[in-house]
């Protein structure tokens, strides 16, 4: 008990030192999980900072739904969005919508539209140049006579109202091999001849880099995707007008160059600095975070996430386990519920929690707490159940009060099982905590997500390797702890059995 209290105290101390994402004076900018969005978010942050406003940028929080919910709930005040996505996905308008129609509907929800930044990043379909030339495909209509092409589009594009299904209906396509592949991985698949066709954003740096051919949208299927910033109407006026200065300053060529710079350097702040001129770009180069700094920072964030959520899970899980052990009926309910939440996919759980807890550390901690409960509760119950009944009765017959029986006899005897449960939770927790990178809670997941969005293995490893190391260290740490916590007599007895 004393040990779990100590863990909790450490957790609280770490939590109070963690940066708050929703400070009263701070303007929060969010971005989606792809390079261009990251870069635009960084530009916005810098514009705001230069205007004397304290700004944070939560990078790569997820897809449209997560960003839109975060904006509506007030977790973020700004994020870059595209006109086509606003009309098709957010407002679900039919047909081509003009700006004033979108503006009035957004206003009703307390959201405003900033000026267009100047480039149109529409969807397009791309193929390898060799394949397109060999098959004589130049426009999307040409695809009709090639149903055997292998298609790999993002899961989001598969589901979008302006995505793959309506597109195939419009162009009369009948491809059978259609798969959902993450964006950066899709480019890799296309380059290595695993797929023949994928969707792209017209400003993607990979198009030029991989020598891909953009097919002509000859029926004018794709809506316009003009970039702009969505913002909360209650955001500080100074911030809104500062960002409005971005209007018309970024054309396709400029955006594509910044995207390419970001993918080459793996540093969004650096790429965004190019917007502010060559001198700014050069200065930023000197300030670029070193790998050691990144690992130290993400390790600290990761420890906060794991420490607090595991600490809370221990504090809640052991009493829940005791409760479940005391009453069969309560036990069935507790174990049922705890088991049920375990089956919710972690990404879905994070999304469910956004309306209540917003994005960032709190949300991630609650989700990790929930996932850590099951092994602790279950092992507490098992540990107590495994105590032979003559010994339970002996404890009772001595005349010890129920609480003293639990403290002096039952919990020490169940300690090995409980500790094993905590160990399992810790290892699962360390791995699962990498998903916190999806909702801007930092930790090792941040590097993994950045690496995935760039399809850059070294960056992925910068998150994955420390995470694996932490899991191994935790495992070893618990093995040592076992010697300290599990009473010697019990260890001797177990060894003999």
């Amino acid at each position: 008990m004393r040990n779990s209290l100590r863990v909790f105290a450490i957790s609280l101390a770490l939590a109070s030192s963690a940066p708050s994402l929703a400070g009263a004076q701070t303007v929060a900018v969010g971005s989606k999980k792809f390079t261009e969005s990251y870069v635009l978010g960084e530009i916005a942050k810098r514009i705001l900072t230069e205007a004397g406003i304290t700004a944070t940028h939560t990078q790569g929080m997820g897809g449209t739904i997560i960003l839109w919910q975060a904006l509506k709930s007030g977790d973020i005040a700004f994020y870059p969005e595209y006109t086509g996505t606003i009309s098709e996905e957010i407002l679900k308008l039919k047909g081509a919508a003009d700006r004033s129609a979108m503006e009035s509907r957004l206003k009703a929800q307390g959201i405003g539209m900033g000026p267009e930044l100047g480039f149109n990043n529409t969807y397009a379909l791309v193929m390898r140049r060799s394949k397109s030339e060999a098959m004589g495909i130049a426009s999307m209509s040409d695809l009709k006579s090639h149903p055997n092409l292998r298609v790999g589009v993002t899961p989001e594009f598969l589901g979008r109202k302006d995505g793959w299904k309506p597109l195939s209906a419009r162009y009369g396509l009948s491809m059978k091999d259609v798969r959902g592949v993450e964006h950066a991985l899709g480019y890799a698949a296309l380059a290595s001849d695993q797929i023949d066709l994928k969707e792209c954003y017209s400003t993607d740096a990979k198009i030029k880099e991989n020598d891909l051919v953009v097919l002509k949208d000859d029926l004018g299927y794709f809506p316009q995707y003009k970039a702009l910033f969505l913002y909360r109407l209650d955001a500080p006026t100074a911030a809104i007008s500062a960002l409005a200065k971005l209007g018309g300053t970024i054309d396709e060529q400029r955006m594509t160059a910044m995207n390419a710079d970001a993918e080459r350097t793996k540093d969004y702040t650096l790429a965004a600095s190019a917007y502010f001129g060559k001198v700014a770009r050069k200065e930023a180069e000197g300030k670029s975070e070193t790998t050691t700094q990144i690992i130290l920072r993400t390790t600290k964030d990761h420890l906060v996430l794991v420490g607090i959520s595991l600490g809370l899970a221990i504090l809640a899980g052991i009493p829940l386990g005791i409760l479940a052990w005391r009453s069969r009926a309560i036990g069935a309910i507790v174990l049922g519920l705890v088991g049920l939440v375990q089956t919710i996919p972690s990404l879905a759980l994070l999304a469910f929690l956004i309306p209540w807890l917003g994005i960032g550390t709190n949300n991630a901690i609650v989700a990790l707490f929930v996932y850590s409960l099951l092994p602790i509760v279950r092992n507490t119950v098992t540990g107590l159940q495994d105590i032979p009944s003559p010994l339970r009765e002996s404890a009772e017959a001595l005349g010890l009060e129920p609480a003293a029986q639990m403290r002096k006899i039952l919990l020490p005897m169940a300690s090995r099982s409980i500790l094993a449960g905590i160990k399992t939770s810790a290892v699962i927790n360390i791995g699962t905590a990498t998903l916190a990178g999806l909702i801007g809670a930092g930790g090792y997941g941040e590097q993994i997500q950045i690496g995935l969005s760039l399809n850059d293995t070294p960056t992925i490893l910068r998150g994955a390797v420390p995470s694996a190391v932490m899991a191994v260290v935790a495992q070893a740490g618990f093995d040592l702890l076992e010697r300290a916590i599990i009473p010697k007599g019990l260890r001797l007895t177990l060894a003999k059995d």
Binding site: P390, L391, E393, S394, A395, E396, A397, L398, G399, L400, E401, A404, K408, I409, P412, M413, S415, P487, K488, G489, L490, L492, T493, K496
Partner: protein, 244 residues
């Protein structure tokens, strides 16, 4: 004095102990005997309050045993079970002194009491630091007896205390138990299925069969004035075993 007044214990439709009225004399050793499943252990577990009577009452020195009183009453009782029931995570010494420390007994008093009990039960003091798993079966029973006697209870309850021991150790412990009982003069209730052990240790024997008391009295009463054929049958069967 322990008194059962029409105490009955049912488990659903089956009856473990039929309404029984019985008194256990202060300062004497009573042996509850009978074949497996006759209800003798259930009776003992009712006295210490591990299970409550389904109907009727059970009193210890005039206090009815129930959920409110059993905790305090237990501290005036020592309880020794087959195999000792020692807690594996505590040393012999901690097992013996757990309750004394819990109620805040003066440490000096605790250690002099432990030394006294070691002499009484013939347990080597230097083995007090060992864990139960490091002790022999006989030693574990001696530790269990010391634990039961630590707070100097009025009543000592023993449930088949020697059941798991081999015959030589068993015989040595029987002798020691008798001398302890004689020396302390406590109210002792001993559950056993061994007639010879019951006769050797008990002032009074209570024979049970299928939840009912068949006869109670001295060994001589059993031998000379059996109340029914079962008593004779039980005695004969046991004696033939002893004779072999």
């Amino acid at each position: 004095m322990i008194a059962l007044k029409s105490a009955e214990r049912r488990y659903g439709a089956s009856i473990a102990v039929y309404p029984t009225t019985l008194e256990f004399e202060r300062g004497k050793t009573t042996a509850l005997i009978g074949p497996s499943g006759c209800g003798k252990s259930t009776l003992l577990r009712m006295i210490i309050g591990l299970i409550a009577p389904s109907s009727g009452t059970l009193e210890v020195d005039g206090t009815p045993v129930n959920t409110f009183t059993s905790q305090q009453l237990r501290r005036r009782m020592g309880y020794v079970i087959q195999d000792g029931g020692l807690f594996p995570h505590l040393t012999a010494l901690r097992n013996i002194t757990l309750m004394a420390q819990h109620v805040g007994t003066d440490p000096a008093k605790v250690s002099s009491r432990v030394a006294e009990l070691c002499t009484l039960t013939h347990f080597p003091q230097e083995a007090l630091g060992r864990f139960p798993v490091e002790l022999s079966g006989g030693q574990r029973q001696r530790v269990s007896l010391m634990r039961g006697l630590m707070l100097d209870p009025d009543i000592l309850l023993l449930d088949e205390p020697l059941g798991a021991l081999d015959p030589l150790v068993r015989s040595a412990l029987q002798k020691d138990l008798r001398s302890v009982f004689e020396a302390l003069g406590k109210t002792v209730v001993l559950v056993t299925h061994d007639m010879a052990e019951a006769g050797y240790l008990g002032h009074r024997l209570v024979l049970m069969r299928e939840g009912r008391v068949v006869q109670s009295g001295s060994l001589e009463d059993f031998q000379k004035r059996p109340s029914d054929a079962f008593v004779t049958e039980f005695l004969t069967a046991q004696r033939s075993l002893v004779m072999l």
